[in-house]
């Protein structure tokens, strides 16, 4: 049973105000957390959650307001202070040094040292193994970060905090990248921690998790404190409406539909990853017109490589990709696009947008050389801007200005720009990779609608996502990918979370390792 | 920037004040000025020597003198013009690189007197004097000294870049060595750089290692390395253009001097005397002290050798010894 000590307020944040220039991210926010409690912070993107926690962790200085730790007023000038006060934070965007080992990442800043400032690696490794055992957070101390799964990376992040003796643990959107199993594990871990008398503050958009894990939940909207509720006597719907300020529908409504013939055929495809290891190993798949095929799988099972291969960004070692009967294996991205394959890349800022180009310029990334945007190599800005205006209008991109740089758009709006562009290309096949990562319910609703529209227009949609709910929500068929192979394909109707999760984790199939 | 970007060096701070002082005391004086080449005025070489000549003219003939330095090839013309506007009576271009620029300027300003060091014209304009030096004669003398003083029978020559002006030093030296010591061997290597001291040092080291005990350089900054090698190996080196003994008092036994200073001073005298040799090419050699060996030579070179050198000098002046300044002449005669 939970053991919250209500007499001991470990964290009290009073009337916190944070301004960035003229932009107010936090406006008089109050937050009280008791010892041993799991406290959820809920809010849309940009509501001010990370900002608030960054203030608690000393990364930002509040413009106004007071902070009390264990009843004592503190002035957290920088993370060192926070660490002294027993605060640890796992950031929304992982703070891991890729080429470093797990151990190096964990001990960085508190390295065990011998004489002449020489690092005592042996001791460091021992320490890491010790705490990872203690809290049941399994990691490989000597692996480099880029060699380990996202799940393990997350555990490394948590260990970083615990290694510094954190009593209060802040987790900023920790589950965004985890499988159902990993999420369950995480929840158990949080429970264990609270059993140990530690306190957990978790930021998330996922109401289900809040219901499952949290004791209390503070809702923030547009930087303002809306309410703090005891989770067990609230419903997900209630939380959601508090968060967005209106009712939201969860189930994406789509009427069933007969699928046409196979538009995209993938025949035992083999693709290598950056380290020249086979990531996709003889994968075969068919996607039909008028269906959404969802690929479910744990991150790092070849999804990225599969998509890059399909879009011509990565060399195909063996196998074929056939589009409308035409073999496009190892075609250039340009040729692929001309063969009416469009894609929403998983990393919108790396692949999807030229952040220093205007929204308009980004809207024509694939068609810049085509009429009416250009003629004989000369660009026609009026045509381009006109086109951009229409899309901004149609896809409700905010702010409504085609001349601002994509960089200054918010995550969700950046995603809208990409979707607008890709959908407008009127492709036969739309590949969507993690299309809703980091977006809030509102934005998610929109993305899902657009995907379903494509399907209803009798296009083939390939959806790759780590969010099992999303897959189950909008796919017609679900293919589970594991270690570069499709282990099984099921109809969305008769799919159930646990069996899928099991397959994603490599269960259900004998021949492995 | 990288490389020659900063090879620019103007007058010492105290210069102008002195000039102004003189301006007050002296009545209307002649003005003479020079444009250095990209080497800059403190190049320990002909630019510096030329400036010394100017200063001598200032101190002894009461000239008012100044100079402009060039950073790039392209600066020559406009620097000449800067001096023109400054109202100089005579403007010097220091170095063959300025040949074209001087001709151009002289053509446009027929009333302005110009002179150029190390360059001659097929038909020299009336307002220009070309000044040439028989560097080969001085080189012959130091070559003679080297030939006499070498104990290993091997001496070396390090050239800056492989082109005519340097060939004078090269073949004059070889001839001198052979004249003094027919079976002495001369190691020759060009550094293809006037700035790479490390390479000069490496080349000299190699020569000493191959048994040479005296190395003569005509290689500007690269020569610093040659002299350095001599110091380290405790061997002999021969300097060029100016008396470079001060760089390594124990090792630089002599220098093949090109008395640009004398030449400039003499032309200045002519100018003052009102017989400026316009339209001619004046060639300075041993005869008129335009070239010669360093005064400090007696520190290392035995007196009897110096006496022989004096005799050789006489013979060269008398035309009894032929001194080559290029490969063909050398091959033909030695």
């Amino acid at each position: 049973m939970r053991n919250i000590d209500f007499d001991c307020k470990v964290v009290e944040m009073k009337n916190i105000i944070k301004k960035f220039g003229d932009f107010t991210a936090n406006e008089n926010i109050n937050l009280t957390v008791h010892k041993g409690e799991i406290h959820a912070l809920l809010g849309e993107n940009g509501a001010g959650k990370s900002t608030l926690m960054n203030i608690l962790y000393g990364l930002y200085q509040p413009t106004a307001g007071e902070i009390y730790i264990n009843g004592e007023k503190v002035n957290i000038t920088d993370p060192n202070v926070a660490i002294q006060k027993g605060i640890g934070m796992v950031h929304q965007h992982f703070m891991l040094v890729e080429p470093f080992t797990v151990t190096e990442n964990i001990v960085l800043g508190m390295e065990p040292t011998g004489l002449a400032g020489k690092m005592d690696m042996k001791k460091a490794v021992q320490d890491v193994e010790e705490i990872s055992k203690k809290y049941g957070l399994y990691v490989k101390p000597n692996e480099k970060i880029y060699d380990i799964s996202v799940g393990m990376q997350q555990r490394v992040e948590i260990l970083k905090a615990l290694y510094r003796g954190a009593e209060i643990l802040i987790l900023d959107e920790p589950t965004a990248v985890l499988t159902p199993q990993e999420i369950k594990e995480l929840i158990t871990i949080m429970r264990n921690l609270t059993q140990e008398g530690k306190t957990v503050i978790i930021i998330t958009h996922k109401l289900k998790e809040i219901k499952e894990a949290a004791d209390y939940c503070t809702i923030i909207r547009r930087g303002k404190h809306i309410d703090t509720v005891e989770v067990k006597n609230t419903s997900e719907a209630e939380l959601a409406s508090k968060m967005v300020g209106r009712e939201v529908s969860f189930k994406a409504d789509k009427e069933s539909k007969e699928k046409g013939e196979a538009t995209l055929r993938i025949e035992n495809l083999v693709v290598k990853d950056n380290r020249a290891v086979e990531a996709v190993r003889g994968l075969s798949l068919e996607i039909h017109a008028g269906e959404i095929l969802g690929i479910a799988g744990v991150d790092g099972n070849g999804q990225t490589e599969l998509i890059e291969a399909l879009t011509g960004l990565r060399k195909i070692e063996a196998g074929n990709v056939i589009v409308n009967g035409k073999n496009v294996t190892n075609n250039t991205p340009k040729e692929i696009i001309e063969n009416k394959i469009a894609s929403i890349p998983e990393d919108r800022q790396k692949r999807g947008l030229v952040l220093d180009y205007t929204v308009a310029e980004n809207m024509i990334l694939e068609n810049y050389a085509k009429e009416p945007f250009a003629k004989h190599g000369i660009m026609n800005s009026t045509a381009i801007n006109k086109f951009a205006k229409e899309l901004i209008e149609k896809f409700d991109v905010r702010p409504e200005d085609e001349k601002i740089k994509a960089r200054s758009l918010s995550g969700g709006n950046q995603q809208k720009v990409i979707i607008a562009r890709e959908v407008t290309n009127d492709p036969d096949i739309l590949i969507a990779a993690q299309p809703t990562r980091g977006l809030d319910v509102g934005a998610i609703e929109f993305v899902h609608k657009s995907l379903i529209q494509q399907r209803d227009k009798n296009k083939a949609v390939l959806l790759v996502s780590l969010e099992l709910d999303e897959i189950m929500n909008i796919s017609d068929r679900i293919a589970v990918i594991y270690e570069g192979k499709i282990v099984d394909i099921v109809d969305a109707k008769d799919a159930d979370e646990n069996t899928l999760g099991l397959m994603m984790a490599g269960g259900g199939i004998q021949n492995e390792k | 920037g990288c490389g020659g970007g900063t090879a620019e060096e103007p007058a010492p701070a105290e210069e102008p004040t002195e000039e102004q002082v003189e301006e007050q005391v002296e009545e209307p004086q002649l003005k003479m000025a020079m444009v250095t080449d990209v080497g800059g005025v403190n190049d320990e070489s002909f630019n510096e020597s030329a400036w010394n000549g100017h200063q001598k003219a200032r101190d002894e003939l009461g000239f008012e003198v100044s100079y402009v330095e060039s950073e790039q090839d392209a600066d020559y013309e406009r620097n000449l013009e800067t001096l023109l506007d400054a109202g100089n009576d005579l403007i010097w271009g220091i170095g063959f690189m300025m040949g074209d620029a001087i001709a151009e300027a002289a053509d446009f300003n027929p009333d302005q007197k110009y002179a150029i060091i190390d360059s001659a014209y097929d038909d020299t304009p009336d307002n220009v004097v070309g000044v040439l030096f028989k560097a080969e004669e001085a080189s012959f003398l130091v070559g003679y000294i080297a030939g006499k003083m070498t104990e290993t029978g091997k001496v070396g020559f390090v050239g800056g870049m492989d082109f005519p002006v340097i060939h004078g030093f090269h073949y004059g030296f070889m001839a001198g060595v052979k004249y003094a010591n027919p079976d002495a061997e001369v190691l020759v290597q060009y550094a293809d750089s006037f700035v790479d001291a490390a390479r000069g040092k490496a080349i000299a080291n190699q020569m000493y290692q191959q048994g040479a005990d005296i190395v003569f350089h005509a290689a500007g900054g690269t020569g610093d390395g040659v002299i350095e090698a001599a110091r380290e190996q405790d061997k002999y080196a021969i300097g060029v253009d100016m008396d470079q003994n001060h760089l390594a008092p124990d090792n630089v036994i002599t220098s093949a001097m090109k008395r640009v200073d004398n030449a400039i001073f003499m032309i200045a005298e002519d100018l003052k005397a009102g017989n400026f040799p316009g339209g001619q090419t004046v060639v300075f050699g041993l005869e008129d002290g335009g070239v010669g060996i360093a005064p400090t030579s007696d520190k290392h070179v035995p007196a009897e050798i110096l006496e022989e050198v004096a005799e050789v000098e006489r013979q060269i002046i008398a035309g009894e010894i032929f001194v080559p300044d290029n490969k063909d002449d050398y091959d033909a005669n030695y």
């Binding site: 879009t311 890349p345 790396k350 692949r351 220093d356 | 970007g5 620019e8 007058a11 406009r78 870049m161």
Partner: protein, 381 residues
């Protein structure tokens, strides 16, 4: 109190204006330069006076400044073009030399009527240097060789190539280390024949302005440089090529995803950059030097080009003005030597300072913000 508001206006205006920072940096550069001069015991006012007079007070002075600005404007355009497409072209220096070598050869060996000869020489210089720049592009695209290394190496190779070619028999002028002068038909000096002719001299003696201006090898190079500046601006901002190259420069991954051939773009970009620097070298030979000489060290056109590009904010117009300023500083600086005997490396110190402050607009922004109200200052963290 009123002045505060006033400063605030200025401050906000300047921080908005593209070249605002450059202007301030330039002013700061002059201040530091003055301090240095004073340190060396010279009267800065006097020195700057001489510089100003030495650059502005006569047609020929202005002409010299313009002449001097031509090559660095072009090398700056070269550097800026590469910058825009995400490449750092330290190689303008070598590309300049290749352009000059080519021009000297084509200008001397080929004999044609000027109307054909001039374009021919210029184009061959551009092409040769373009290919030279392209080498770095290929090395980067195909072998992943960092363009900074390759262009540095190529500079030195070009230097020795220059010295090799200058001394080739047939091209070299007897008893000298210069090549033969290019044919008159390849010269772009304005009215060259005429102003040498007796009647030309006669007329010029009568007309002070032109007489003075035409004493200099005033040539079409500057006009051509301006034209190139416009072309560069046009390519980068109005053409699909520019769109591709900039996309690669900003985010090669997105460009690749958008179907742009990244390797090809890098090559193209370096070719164009090389071509611009080559034009500088070519025009230099056709307009001023008429021949090339063996070089003891690099002349610095490329490196000065980098500075000019930065001062000009990598924008075409900016570069034209920065080039003129740079040239004026160098030319004016050469005049404080004979006049005052003041050390001319003060000029380099000034240029360095200007570039230094241009590197950190933030510093300027912060100091300006101190004019603004406390609140304004606090938000900057």
């Amino acid at each position: 109190m009123k002045s505060k508001a006033f400063f605030e206006k200025i401050a906000t205006y300047i921080t908005k204006w593209t070249f605002g920072f450059s202007i301030i940096s330039i002013i700061l550069g002059f201040i530091i330069g003055a301090a240095t001069l004073a340190l060396a015991g010279f009267n800065p006012i006097e020195a700057y006076g001489i510089m100003a007079r030495g650059v502005l007070t006569r047609p020929s002075y202005v002409a010299w400044t313009i002449i001097g600005s031509t090559p660095i404007i072009l090398t700056a355009l070269s550097v800026a073009f590469a910058f825009k497409t995400g490449l750092f072209n330290i190689g303008a220096e070598g590309q300049f030399m290749i352009g000059a070598i080519t021009a000297a050869m084509v200008g001397y060996f080929v004999e044609l009527p000027a109307i054909i000869h001039i374009p021919l020489v210029l184009i061959s210089a551009i092409v040769a240097a373009g290919l030279w720049g392209g080498i770095a592009g290929v090395l980067k695209a195909k072998f992943g060789v960092h363009e900074v290394i390759s262009t540095i190496m190529l500079n030195w190779i070009a230097l020795y190539l220059n010295n090799y070619i200058v001394l080739l028999e047939g091209l070299r002028r007897a008893t000298s280390q210069r090549t033969h002068e290019i044919q008159r038909s390849a010269s772009i000096v304005i009215l060259e024949q005429w102003k040498r002719s007796p009647e030309g001299r006669e007329w010029l003696r009568g007309h002070d302005f032109f007489g003075d201006a035409l004493r200099t090898p005033l040539n079409w190079g500057f006009i051509i440089a301006i034209i190139f500046a416009v072309i560069v601006w046009y390519i980068l901002n109005k053409t699909t090529l520019g769109y591709e190259l900039k996309a690669v420069g900003y985010n090669r991954h997105a460009a690749e995803y958008g179907g742009i051939n990244v390797s090809k773009s890098m090559f193209t970009s370096m070719v164009i950059a090389g071509g611009l620097a080559g034009a500088a070298g070519g025009l230099h030979v056709m307009g001023i030097s008429k021949s090339i000489a063996s070089l003891a060290a690099m002349e610095g056109y490329g490196f000065n080009g980098i500075a000019v590009a930065l001062i000009g904010g990598n924008a075409s117009i900016g570069i034209v003005f920065a080039g003129l300023l740079f040239s004026a500083l160098q030319y004016g600086g050469s005049k404080i030597q004979p006049a005052l005997g003041a050390p001319s490396e003060v000029i380099n110190i000034m240029i360095g300072t200007i570039v230094f402050f241009i590197a950190m607009p933030k510093l300027i922004k912060y100091s300006l913000q101190n004019f603004k109200k406390k609140r304004g200052a606090k938000n900057v963290r």
